[in-house]
Subunit: 204 residues, 2 copies
């Protein structure tokens, strides 16, 4: 068994520590966040930090790294007020991962990475055509984490697009049927295999 | 294809909407958060909202539902300053799920759900013996989301415990080897299957 204290983690080789700590929180859904700047140049970036915030009203959050360098996703969201969240599936995980490369501001990651922009019903941000589960979002609020300057972005679900056949009678989406891909840390990808649906738990 | 606007989501049957919106953000690692009150009664609760915040210094976040009812995990963390995060694996996912039942304050979910408390090196919060990846945390800061009163809790990794044999030479933890279980929404469980490790992406 490996046991690391906080100080022992800090003393590790930088890349080993980044991978160890980034993967310690487990696997999470991989999502592409689409946005657009004032000159209508689209932007697309992969995130593994999507988190459910509430169902009434429907809203979601995600975490952005500190603004030490230019963050196009952040700038576009703050300027336009809109963005999209597009689930990564097994057919596009390599293209999705490639969006994490550092492209200059006037390059669209859609073109650079081989994914297709899709505009729907005047929604002011690009969806990913190849994604099967897509969410149109509007910005609500942001919180800066004082400890390390990361930023939590909260948005409202304006539009949820998902194939009818993967929605159960209870409303649950089956992510194995969507061939959704999960990610751990920065670059370890996983398939998900449906296991079980448990009942609402009550004391026994 | 099913397409829902924000207002159409609000108009859905309550339980269908809860499941649909909760599962829309995909699968996430399932984790048990352990804590202890002033009378040393332990508490254990399953969360699906763990999120990586930073590797230098190592810290993690998770989202708590609004404090409309008594939240033992929140009260214990704020009072003691310490908690543990324990990964759910396929051998204990039913026990883990059962911790979401509403137990009264003087009942320990460890006993009630059939999991074993483990205390290590005077760390002032209980770990889950049956869990293979365990993290000892200290509270750093909290952020209240104005939109719906949920709370983001940020903590520092004080101790990371993980079997040496699942850590790669690059520091990446293999969650398939840990038989980690992921969850979507409140009750859909998934196994994870290792797929691929991609290179750090650079513009092509």
């Amino acid at each position: 068994m490996a046991v690391y204290t906080h100080d022992e983690l800090l003393a590790l080789d930088k890349y080993f520590r980044i991978n160890l700590v980034n993967t310690a929180s487990g696997i999470r859904s991989a999502n592409l966040i689409g946005s657009q700047n004032e000159a209508s140049v689209s932007n697309l970036a992969v995130f593994n930090s999507l988190v459910h915030i509430g169902a009434n009203p429907p809203c979601l959050g995600f975490v952005m790294r500190p603004l030490l360098v230019e963050r196009h996703t952040y700038a576009n969201i703050k300027k336009s007020g809109y963005y999209t969240i597009n689930q990564v599936n097994s057919a596009i995980y390599k293209e999705g991962h490639q969006t994490s490369a550092k492209y200059v501001a006037d390059t669209s990651e859609f073109t650079a990475c081989g994914l297709t922009e899709e505009y729907r019903d005047d929604f002011p941000a690009p969806f990913v055509k190849e994604s099967k589960l897509k969410i149109g979002m509007s910005f609500i609020e942001e919180h800066k984490i004082a400890y390390n300057d990361t930023i939590l972005i909260i948005g409202k679900i304006e539009k949820l697009i998902v194939p009818s056949e993967v929605i159960g009678v209870d409303g649950c989406i089956n992510h194995a049927d969507l061939e959704a891909v999960a990610v751990s840390g920065l670059s370890s990808y996983y398939d998900c295999k449906y296991k079980d649906q448990l009942e609402f738990a009550r004391p026994k």
